[in-house]
């Protein structure tokens, strides 16, 4: 094991991340720095709220944004503005890990004297407990941890008290050793996720929690007043990790509101920030009148697509899946997004240029900026033998998603299916369609980059491995063998060095019509006049907005 080797490997990964984000810099210009702004004060944020308050079960951007401030991992992403936010830095670990020559053994050492927000000590064995919880509860990011020796056996045994042979820890020295079954270039990125952050073994039960009762060692502590209405983040006075800046805000209150209401409240300075994007009328209004506190960014890199459940009719047949791909008119969806959608034919977003993204041109289903080919789509539906079949299009209540699913319903009706929609609340949507028993045939989904590695897009959404999680993000409920083989081959290697290979996976997914991709969204940041928008907007390639960087004027 050499420190230099480790440093080089990690630097390469971090550089890959920087490269990714550099390609996806702000569309509206203007850098951001976290040097300004005052310390102290409280803000209120409007949100659709997290899908879960349990760190191993959270999956949405709205959940990740607050929980990453509560649950800090051994590593984290640098809390710095702009593309620097892709850099991996040690957090609860005192340094980046030492990595063995075969790149299968990682050794971390905890900082001495670390405390959770309830005053209890952070010990090395808490890490194993967290990974066990993640695997036992089948958290949405659990597939990233199955590369650890003994993890799959632990998950299969379904015995909470079992052991993961690949993790050894010493509470006295704070040393944690993790052995992988094979080298995995995304392992460290996954260790910086909320789902891998140590939580106290004594108070983190092997069952899902919904009230924020699990404490963390992050810069804030959470108090959930009502899981479906409101929660508050309060500065953790005992937090002292040198690589993470001290929070500027004392408290952050987060309340559930509808998108139009939260937009109006930010306009009127009743809310200081909204996790969602202004929709409908409000977008052109905000763009025109409040330009000094509004911006659009392609960060985090993202892709929007319709999932096609290959385990149920009619999308078990390739012709039916291809028909949807041919029929989609991204220009129509662009209008629903209020012009914030950039049509694409790739599964990987353009932010991954040099890191796996190579524009698929020509697109097998026609120009993504052009109209859909309804005639060809109809012919394919005819050929599939599923003409006239009933199809339910699933979506959620968050604007403009009801309009998106209605567009797909109309399109499916035009190509020969009998489609209707089912719209669920945003908070329960993904956990519902991610259950196999739901048998959701087709519907809305999207993916925002969790870390700058192409496997982040392929593994949770399309791999066989992801199907071990329940709920899963692999709403196709089947995996493409090309993807599974590609992940096995490419995961151990630095993604930049095998970028062309990742691009081939991208093409395979599109050509096999596993998904119906239609675009990449420009995300928005809109703040009240109280906020120091220029210096503390917190636009991040990982968190969308890093609330730790928020500050008042």
């Amino acid at each position: 094991m050499t420190k230099l080797g480790n440093a080089l490997a990690i630097a390469a990964l971090a550089a890959a991340g920087v490269g990714v984000a550099a390609c996806g810099s702000s569309s509206s210009g203007g850098g951001s720095g976290s040097t300004g702004g005052k310390t102290g004060g409280s803000i209120t944020i409007g949100s659709v709220l997290p899908d879960s308050y349990d760190p191993v079960l959270v999956q949405t951007v709205q959940g990740n944004q607050p929980l990453q401030l509560v649950y800090t991992g051994l590593l984290t992403y640098k809390h710095a503005p702009g593309t620097a936010g892709n850099e991996l830095v040690p957090a609860l670990a005192e340094a980046l890990p030492t990595i063995s020559a075969d790149r299968k053994t990682y050794t971390f050492k905890l900082r001495p004297g670390l405390k959770y927000s309830d005053g209890s000590s952070v010990v090395a064995s808490d890490f194993e407990h967290t990974i066990k919880r993640l695997l036992y509860l089948g958290g949405p990011f659990s597939s990233f941890s199955t590369v650890i020796e003994g993890a799959e056996a632990y998950q299969t045994a379904k015995k909470a008290s079992g052991d993961i042979s690949g993790i050894t820890s010493d509470d006295k020295t704070g040393q944690i050793t993790v052995k992988l079954t094979q080298p995995d270039s995304k392992f460290l990125f996954a260790m910086a996720l909320v789902s891998a952050a140590p939580t106290p073994a004594a108070t983190s039960p092997f069952k899902a929690t919904s009230n924020g009762s699990i404490v963390g060692a992050g810069p804030y502590k959470i108090s959930v007043q009502n899981p479906t209405r409101q929660f508050t983040l309060t500065k953790n006075a005992s937090f002292d990790v040198p690589t993470i800046p001290k929070p500027k805000l004392d408290t952050i209150k987060v309340v559930k509101e509808t998108v139009p209401k939260m937009t109006q409240d930010v306009i009127n300075n009743k809310l200081d920030f909204m996790t969602e994007d202004p929709a409908g009328d409000d977008l052109p209004l905000v763009k025109a009148k409040y330009a000094t506190r509004f911006r659009m960014d392609p960060n985090p890199p993202n892709t929007y697509w319709f999932f096609l459940n290959e385990s149920v009719k009619p999308f078990d047949k390739k012709q039916a899946r291809e028909a949807v791909n041919y029929a989609i008119d991204s220009r129509a969806l662009q209008r629903i997004f209020g012009g914030r959608l950039q049509p694409t034919c790739n599964f990987l977003p353009p932010g991954y240029a040099g890191n796996g993204y190579v524009k698929i041109d020509p697109c097998p289903y026609g120009d993504p900026n052009g109209p859909g080919d309804l005639a060809k789509a109809r012919a394919l539906v005819d050929k599939s033998g599923y003409k006239g079949m009933s199809v339910t299009v699933w979506g959620n209540t968050k604007d403009p998603r009801p309009a998106i699913v209605d567009y797909l319903r109309d399109t499916l009706n035009q190509i020969g299916f009998k489609a209707k929609t089912k719209v669920l609340d945003q908070q329960v949507y993904f956990s519902t369609i991610g259950l196999k028993k739901t048998q959701a045939q087709v519907g809305f989904t999207d993916w925002f980059s969790d870390f700058p590695h192409p496997a982040d897009f392929f593994e949770p959404n399309l791999s066989k491995k992801a199907l071990a999680s329940s709920p899963t993000f692999n709403f196709e409920f089947k995996s493409n063998p090309v993807v599974d083989q590609g992940l096995t081959k490419l995961n151990p290697q630095d993604p930049q060095s095998v970028a062309d290979e990742w691009a081939k996976l991208d093409r395979a997914v599109i050509e096999d019509a596993n998904v119906a991709v239609y675009g990449n969204e420009l995300s928005t940041t809109f703040m009240s006049e109280r906020m120091d928008f220029q210096n503390c907007n917190g636009v991040s390639p990982v968190y969308k907005n890093d609330w730790l960087q928020f500050c008042l004027k």
Partner: protein, 346 residues
């Protein structure tokens, strides 16, 4: 908090009533003909009744308008279509997502919504849905109320205690809140009762919910009337002749409830339409993409600045419908018993 809806009977001086009857030359006329005669004299009520009929006819004509004038249906998206208005080609929905406003031509007379759907067409189809839900829910409420009110009022004792407490429990929840809770809960899995399964997106769900939450408002006054009727001589006479309770309820009690039910019906329909609109607006009533005035209002609220007509027009239709039903309902009440003050109070 709900207050007791009441059938308040005011008994006037018999001499005055007789004088009124003489003046109206109503001696010998049956109560139904008498009521009709009184209703015909109430021009305001008739005018509003006519307005309601007009609204119904317009809504029933929705397919004709959609096929022959607007050339679309209530569900078709026209996101990338263009239309020619006064020689100018215009996007139905602009690339930045702003839909076309009222054209005052056959196509997109009231403009388009965010999905490029013709608002005028959706408004008419939405009216059909709202009226269907309103009338069906009111009928459901009446049936349930008759059942509950008659059983509780006739048998008294423990059936009365049981049913009245059940009504009290229902009454303890504001109808909108209860409707929201039920609508949200049933949206995903639908309703399964024995062999009967109702899908979550079925119109039967809002109909059932509205019918149930309104029951206390009608069952209580009916129960009060039955309590009074069961002590009347004609009921005692029927009982003395050996009639069973079921026979008494059907042949003696129910006919005497008819006027109250007729008076209640238009008011219940109006209330049901309002409740449906509120539930649909909040996403717990009619499921998208089915149009109803409530869902159209909900869709339009996002564009209230640039396209206020999207909310104003369905709102206006609601106001006109509910107003016409209420004024007509008041007229019916006055016609059936000008001395009674049967009213719905929430």
């Amino acid at each position: 908090m709900a207050t007791e809806p009441a059938t308040e009977l005011t008994f006037g001086d018999p001499g005055l009533l007789a004088a009124e009857d003489r003046r109206d030359r109503v001696a010998g006329l049956g109560p139904w003909r008498l009521a009709l005669r009184r209703l015909r004299r109430n021009r305001v009520a008739l005018a509003f009744g006519g307005l309601f009929v007009l609204i119904v006819v317009i809504c029933l004509a929705a397919p004709l308008y959609a096929d022959h004038v607007a050339h679309t249906d209530a569900f078709k998206n026209h996101l990338t279509d263009t239309i020619v208005i006064n020689g100018q080609t215009r996007n139905v929905v602009a690339p930045d997502g702003v839909p076309i406003g009222p054209t005052y031509h056959g196509r997109f007379f009231l403009g388009a919504d965010g999905n490029g759907r013709d608002i005028a067409v959706r408004l008419l189809y939405g009216g059909r849905t709202s009226l269907l839900v309103g009338v069906s829910a009111a009928l459901g409420t009446i049936l349930l109320s008759i059942l509950v009110g008659t059983l509780a009022g006739y048998f008294r004792g423990w059936p009365d205690t049981l049913l009245s407490r059940a009504l009290d429990i229902l009454w303890a929840f504001p109808p909108l809140l209860l409707g929201l809770a039920l609508g949200t809960a049933l949206a995903l899995g639908g309703l399964k009762v024995g062999p009967i399964t109702i899908q979550g997106d079925s119109l039967l769900i809002p109909i059932l919910i509205i019918a149930i939450v309104q029951v206390p408002y009608m069952a209580r006054p009916l129960r009060g009337q039955v309590l009074a009727l069961r002590e009347k001589e004609f009921v005692e006479a029927a009982r003395a002749q050996g009639a069973s309770p079921l026979q008494i309820m059907f042949s003696e009690i129910l006919p005497n409830l008819a006027s109250t039910i007729v008076v209640f019906f238009p008011l219940m329909v109006a209330n049901a339409i309002l409740l449906e609109a509120a539930l649909s607006f909040l996403g717990a009533g009619v499921r998208p993409p089915n149009p109803s005035w409530g869902t159209i209002l909900g869709d339009g609220i996002q564009r209230i600045v640039t396209a206020p007509h999207q909310t104003i027009v369905p709102g206006l239709m609601l106001v006109l419908t509910v107003l016409s039903l209420n004024v007509f309902g008041d007229g019916v009440r006055d016609a059936f018993d000008p001395r009674a003050k049967v009213r719905l109070e929430h």
